[in-house]
């Protein structure tokens, strides 16, 4: 029997390593078992059951109200009574009035609601804990169909695609500008994006408050934004390694700006769609006009890095679509399946993407300023970008 010589230099994953890795886990299981069986010496018996029920969505149809609820409490709960505007109403729950932790159910009530009126719904669990939802303005909930689909498409087109393309149409004129002006424009783009980035983040934080606590809205923001930032960074570094061409690099940055703005517009589309569903309708066509004026700067931002190059029209159009069209997709999602969870995720991705793009533009500007120092151009550019959005926002509001 020949003995093979052991190879002490190579670290190998042996059975022994496996056991060593396993020991803390086994001990952990033991500790948990001990805690569960003894209560750990703490009296953890809650005097009142802790329950939480989120009404995630409601659908109003002729003489019907459907509430989509989720049990976000620590234990299962049972829906026992439904009161609408101070009247106890018969109801059915599908699949079951008893909802497991994080489970969902549909509460159905035959209720002759009136268009345009407000309703307050209180759901009592079997432990007599009330949960409420307000229907501020009752109206037939739009459902997926060709016509509403077209309506949401149109609104996305107006708030996303058209302004972005209008901005891109500046391309021929801006090409005539000198190097210093182009750097200024790049800096202004960075300023725009910084403003949008903060705006998106703030919105993400706001919506995160609506996410059931079990889903940790703030954690979602951290995951979505940091992961997006690092992923885009990795992609951009890889691209530089592969091609190395300065022109391609600038085009890649333009594309990334488009993606970042695209996510921002997706978030906006979600908000519009969701707002439409809950009836937050206020008239003001001039606001749409103001909105187009403000978002035209997004198109400008996309083309700024590639002004000194000659990208094909097809490429420009593609970037315009990437930047603007997500508003349409957002409106669809928000309109048909409004979900704070998705909204937070998209807004977080948008935040990460936008700040990564700012970082990339910063690198481009650094290359320019390395050739010719122009600190005031950069300062005034960034400030201009932010102030433009702030002022247009001011005019609209």
């Amino acid at each position: 029997m020949t003995q093979t010589t052991p190879q002490p230099t190579t670290k190998r994953f042996t059975f022994r390593t496996f056991i060593l890795l396993l020991i803390p886990i086994i001990l952990l299981a033991g500790v948990i078992a001990l805690f569960l069986s003894t209560g750990g010496g703490l009296n953890l018996q809650a005097p009142v059951p802790v329950e939480n029920l989120d009404v995630e969505n409601y659908i109003l149809a002729h003489n019907n109200i459907d509430l989509y609820v989720r049990n976000t409490g620590p234990e299962e709960l049972t829906i026992a009574s439904v009161i609408i505007n101070e009247a106890v109403m018969p109801f059915t729950v599908d699949p079951s009035p008893t909802i497991p932790r994080l489970g969902t159910a549909r509460v159905h009530i035959n209720y002759a609601w009136t268009e345009g009126e407000a309703y307050g719904v209180t759901i009592f669990t079997s432990n007599a804990i009330p949960f409420g939802v307000d229907i501020p303005v009752a109206f037939e909930t739009p459902r997926p169909s060709q016509s509403t689909f077209w309506g949401f498409t149109l609104i996305g087109l107006y708030v996303g695609v058209i302004p972005v393309f209008l901005g891109i149409f500046w391309f021929p004129a801006l090409r005539q500008l000198g190097r210093r002006t182009m750097t200024f424009l790049m800096a202004a783009t960075a300023g725009l994006l910084i403003f949008l980035g903060f705006d998106t983040l703030a919105e993400a934080l706001e919506v995160a408050a609506e996410v059931p606590s079990a889903f940790q809205g703030i954690g979602l923001i951290a995951i979505g934004s940091v992961a997006t930032f690092l992923l885009l960074d990795a992609i951009s570094k890889r691209q530089t390694e592969v091609t190395g061409s300065e022109t391609d690099r600038r085009l890649a940055i333009a594309l990334m700006i488009a993606i970042g703005i695209g996510f921002h517009n997706l978030g906006e589309g979600l908000a519009i769609g969701a707002a439409y569903n809950v009836g937050e309708i206020a008239l003001g066509t001039f606001l749409v006009v103001g909105f187009i004026i403000q978002n035209i700067t997004e198109g400008l931002g996309i083309i700024a890095p590639v002004l000194r190059d000659r990208p094909s029209i097809g490429r420009l159009a593609l970037m315009g679509l990437i930047g603007g069209a997500p508003a349409i997709i957002g409106a669809w999602i928000g309109g048909y399946t409004p979900s704070p969870f998705l909204a937070v995720l998209f807004l977080a991705i948008g935040t990460g993407a936008i700040f990564e793009v700012v970082y990339e533009i910063g690198k481009l500007i650094q290359k320019d300023t390395a050739r010719e120092s122009m600190p005031l151009t950069v300062f005034s550019g960034v400030l201009t970008g932010m102030v433009v959005l702030w002022v247009t926002g001011l005019l609209i509001k």
Partner: protein, 346 residues
């Protein structure tokens, strides 16, 4: 209202657009949806007609587990254990114990009630003017309680903290309230330990009827109705309303009477947190005797209002057969449980 954010603006602006652009498309869509919906839920449509369901509860509370049924309470008058005192006076003795009890008030929801003899309302104590009343009260709950009667009695029998041992009976303690039943009329009793509103709202109350010596004119049927509220989540506001404890009970189980039958109702309002309660009888009028202290009605009406602890006697009979509602004409109470039906049979 919070200031508008940029996204708020987007919503508003976007909506303005979608409203105008999609209005026609949407209205067409609505019609389609309605058709589609009607098709998929025919069973509901058959039950509800075209106007949704009526307010009410589905299913039945567990009366057996509750230990009482409002249908029985209606005609359950407790005359006590009767004997005659050496001086010839009639003595009526009652045993009443207070204890905590979970009462299923709405199907699926238990109310952690405090009760007299395990029921809401407590026993309807009935005596004749001048009788000697002796209430052997014992406290089987884990809170101090008392029994405070409306009517004439000595101060130490008032059941209010500070008036002696009967003012506050500790858990495990006992006290005998003793007084003459007077004046004749419809009264009530309730716990008077503080916080008062909570002790009453939890269920410690009942009707106390003192008949006049010569009796009231005979009727075919007598009923007691104690109007109460249920603050199920203890926020000092009622979530449900009822007569004799269980919301919607007489809507789900109509009270059966006959055309021409003379009906007398002893109506007591023990509602907490809301200032007034009321009683409205459909398709009929009644003679009303406020507090029952006179044999001459004060009013011939179909609706009366009672403040907290007010009470009165109603007398009526039905002319036509049919189903007739009676309910609080504080209508939001009606839809939260204070609604019932008389089924008048020929």
């Amino acid at each position: 209202m919070k200031p508008l954010s940029r996204r708020d603006f987007l919503k508003v602006g976007g909506l303005a657009f979608i409203t105008t652009a999609g209005a026609t498309a949407l209205s067409q869509n609505t019609k389609k949806e309605e058709q589609g919906h009607t098709h998929e839920s025919t069973s509901h449509v058959m039950q509800q007609g075209d106007h949704g369901d009526l307010p009410g509860t589905v299913g039945e509370v567990d009366h057996e587990a509750n230990g009482f049924n409002p249908t029985d309470i209606l005609t359950d008058f407790d005359y006590g254990e009767v004997s005659t005192l050496p001086n010839g006076q009639t003595l009526r003795e009652y045993n009443i114990i207070s204890f905590n009890k979970n009462v299923e008030v709405v199907p699926g929801i238990e109310f952690p009630a405090w009760t007299y003899n395990g029921r809401i309302p407590g026993p309807t104590i009935r005596a004749t003017e001048g009788d000697r009343i002796r209430i052997h009260f014992s406290n089987g709950s884990n809170h101090p309680h008392s029994m405070h009667f409306h009517g004439f009695h000595p101060g130490e029998m008032d059941g209010v903290p500070g008036t002696g041992p009967g003012g506050l009976v500790e858990p495990g303690g006992a006290f005998t309230y003793e007084f003459d039943a007077e004046p004749f009329g419809l009264h009530l009793y309730h716990c008077h330990v503080f916080p008062l509103a909570r002790h009453i709202a939890k269920g410690l109350y009942g009707a106390f009827i003192v008949d006049p010596k010569e009796g009231r004119p005979p009727v075919d049927r007598e009923m007691v109705m104690v109007m109460n509220g249920i603050d199920i989540d203890f926020d000092d506001a009622n979530d449900f309303y009822a007569v004799n404890g269980i919301p919607f009970h007489y809507q789900n189980h109509p009270i059966q009477i006959h055309v021409g039958e003379k009906i007398r109702i002893y109506l007591v309002n023990i509602l907490e947190f809301d200032l007034i309660n009321s009683f409205h009888l459909h398709a009929n009028f009644f003679n009303y005797y406020p507090t029952g202290t006179s044999l001459i009605p004060s009013e011939f009406t179909d609706t009366i209002i009672q403040g907290q602890a007010q009470r009165g006697i109603l007398e009526f009979s039905y002319k036509y057969p049919g189903m007739y509602m009676f309910h609080a004409h504080v209508t939001e109470f009606a839809e939260l449980g204070w609604n019932g039906m008389f089924e008048v049979m020929p």
